[in-house]
């Protein structure tokens, strides 16, 4: 998840519109420089902290394995179940598990696994769901109702139940988990983008494009997608939490990521037997999950306001004086 992209893209595309409106009367003066997204982010300390945490997790997931090598799998039975301490060097910082493997190294390794499931799953459902949703919403009619019925069918099922059945029939592997999670989350994007497209298709600029004979695929791509994109990316940020939690639950239950691979959920499951003697094996991976998901939720809540031109001004005020923001649309709740 690149939280940076959400905001950069939207600032660049909203700015001309905002300036055009402000500067319309009178001879156009030098355009006021747009509020930079990182300045807006800096004003909201909670959202900024969330962005920092997510960036760190992303960097660890990308480069952590290169740095730790095979430390996550290296066993040392003499050092079994050591408590976190400062005296055992870098790999002993967070203690060891029952086989003497460094918990810190395993956490880093697991970050890679967890994100390598969550990110592709979110991207797949984002691309497929939005494409179908925009198409259905723009054309309306029968195409729309068929797409929405399919979304209803998928959504009316608990995702864990789908995953459980499919992983019973097919073997639990990272690829299968990605596919299931992607399919299970497609309806979320489908509904959001359909609603956006259905609203946008009757706007004047779309009518104008249609009058000039622009093919519908191009209208969707050039005129509708750029406006719907910020909302979709916000939903994707929130959905990332959901996907991560589901993967962790599946791994915890033993039908997700399989050993010797390791994910945060699997680490919690493996540490459960030693709960009374070695709390750190269970507590730390759980904390890692909570920290990542809370950060993504906070950032998504911020991005929802920041990507809405009618609400963005609130972010320039201190938190106390912002007033009530609009109600969260149901699709945006994780």
């Amino acid at each position: 998840m690149s939280e940076g992209r959400i905001v950069t893209e939207e600032t660049e595309e909203e700015v001309p519109a905002a300036n055009g409106r402000e500067d319309a009367p009178g001879p156009t003066p030098a355009p006021k420089s747009p509020p930079r997204w990182w300045l807006l982010l800096g004003r909201d300390r909670v959202a900024a902290a969330g962005a920092v945490v997510l960036t760190v997790v992303l960097l660890v997931a990308l480069f952590g394995r290169l740095l730790i090598g095979d430390r996550a799998q290296r066993q040392d039975l003499d050092a079994s179940l050591r408590a976190p301490s400062l005296s055992d060097g870098f790999y002993g910082l967070l203690g060891t598990d029952v086989l003497g493997r460094s918990v810190l190294a395993r956490l880093i390794d697991a970050a890679g696994t967890t994100l390598s499931v969550a990110v592709p799953a979110v991207l797949c459902s984002l691309v497929i769901g939005s494409a179908i949703g925009l198409w259905a919403g723009y054309h309306g009619g029968r195409r729309e109702s068929v797409a929405m019925r399919v979304a209803d069918v998928i959504l009316s099922f608990p995702s864990l139940l789908i995953a459980v059945v499919v992983l019973y029939v097919f073997s639990p592997s990272a690829l299968n988990i990605v596919l299931i999670l992607a399919v299970a989350r497609i309806p979320v994007y489908l509904r959001t983008s359909r609603a956006e497209a259905a609203e946008l298709r009757s706007r004047l600029f779309v009518d104008a494009a249609r009058t000039f004979g622009t093919p519908s695929r191009q209208i969707i791509h050039r005129h509708i997608l750029p406006i719907a994109l910020p909302t979709l990316l916000t939903v994707a940020t929130l959905d990332f939490c959901f996907v991560m939690l589901t993967e962790s639950s599946l791994s915890f239950l033993g039908i997700g990521i399989q050993p010797p691979d390791v994910s945060w959920g699997l680490m919690v499951a493996q540490g459960r037997q030693y709960l009374q003697t070695a709390w750190w094996i269970t507590v730390l991976p759980g904390l890692a999950i909570v920290l990542t998901t809370v950060s993504a939720t906070v950032l998504a809540a911020w991005a929802r306001i920041a990507t809405d031109p009618a609400q963005r001004w609130r972010l320039t005020l201190p938190r106390k004086r912002r007033g009530a923001s609009a109600a969260v649309p149901p699709e945006m709740i994780p």
């Binding site: 459980v164 059945v165 499951a269 969260v328």
Partner: protein, 309 residues
């Protein structure tokens, strides 16, 4: 009202049909369904015997017909683990989960309405910000980790509550219900707050305030009635999602409910029981969706009149 109900039942039945067919075709997609039903250690004779007994040597349409006929009679075969009828096992497990889910949703809705309304009454006050942060965290905590932490703190360290099992007084309910509760509660607080904020800024609330109504009367008498529709929708979705939580909670706390039954039958490759449990859950969700629609119609006269898509 009758037309409304008929339309909703028809449109809710579509997912149900998909699941019934889905389970059938999924079982055939891997090739030989005997692989699914029997454990990996089954001998060749056992497999041949089972295949003939279950009619897996028939043509696919004939198999589908047998499957549908059996499903209609609630006959899903016998469990490989216990030799009991799969339907019986599912029916035994079902009330446990239903009780657990019922208590949880009742508490979640009551708590969320109270706290959400309180937070919405003064947006951006201290109460609002604390409620916002708490609900956001509650909605993002992995439930399995919350359960394990609960066991660690209250079961092991403080020894106040039992770590698992269903035998005993009301204290056995505390940890399972708390675990199931956090996510629906966190989400519902946000929804209640959102829709109450818009309801409280409506003109009729201003009128009520101007006429000197007490805050309680304004919130519960005027605003809440109009804010309840989105809350109902989300609460319905969350109840469906409670199945996810039930699988986790029942596994951790050893409750003999439908979630534990499903995981056990997966880990021990008992397809007949899994199939029965999945279809039973599907029927319950179907009933639940209709119930939510009826509640909608009861609370909002506009829904009753509008023709649903």
């Amino acid at each position: 009202m009758v037309t409304f109900l008929r339309k909703r039942i028809l449109s809710s039945a579509v997912p149900l049909v998909f699941v019934v067919l889905g389970v059938f075709f999924l079982a055939r997609m891997t090739g030989d369904p005997v692989d699914l039903y029997l454990p990996l250690s089954a001998t060749a004779e056992q497999r041949a015997e089972f295949s003939a007994a279950q009619g897996f040597d028939l043509s696919v349409p004939a198999q589908l017909w047998n499957y549908l006929a059996d499903a209609a009679r609630l006959d899903f075969g016998t469990s490989l683990r216990t030799g009991q009828s799969a339907t019986e096992m599912v029916l035994d497990a079902f009330p446990v989960t239903l009780q657990l889910a019922g208590v949880t949703m009742l508490l979640a809705i009551t708590g969320a309405v109270l706290i959400g309304s309180l937070a919405a009454y003064r947006p951006n006050s201290l109460v609002d910000r604390i409620a916002g942060l708490l609900s956001m965290t509650a909605a993002s905590i992995p439930d399995f980790w919350f359960a394990v932490m609960g066991v660690l703190v209250f079961g092991v360290s403080l020894a106040w509550l039992p770590t698992s099992g269903t035998l005993g007084g009301p204290e056995v309910w505390v940890l399972p219900v708390a675990t199931l509760l956090i996510r629906p509660f966190g989400v519902l607080v946000q929804v209640v707050r959102g829709s109450m904020v818009s309801a409280l800024s409506a003109p009729y609330v201003k009128v009520a305030r101007a006429k000197g109504a007490t805050p309680q009367r304004v919130i519960f008498g005027h605003a809440l009635r109009n804010a309840v529709t989105p809350v109902l929708t989300v609460a319905g979705d969350l109840t469906v999602g409670l199945v996810n939580g039930a699988v986790i909670v029942e596994t951790i706390f050893g409750w003999p409910g439908i979630g534990k039954l499903m995981i056990d039958s997966i880990l021990q490759r008992d397809f007949a029981v899994l199939q029965a449990a999945v279809l039973m859950t599907a029927v319950t969700i179907f009933a639940l969706n209709i119930l939510v629609d009826v509640c909608h119609a009861l609370t909002d006269p506009r829904v009753r009149q509008a023709v649903p898509a």
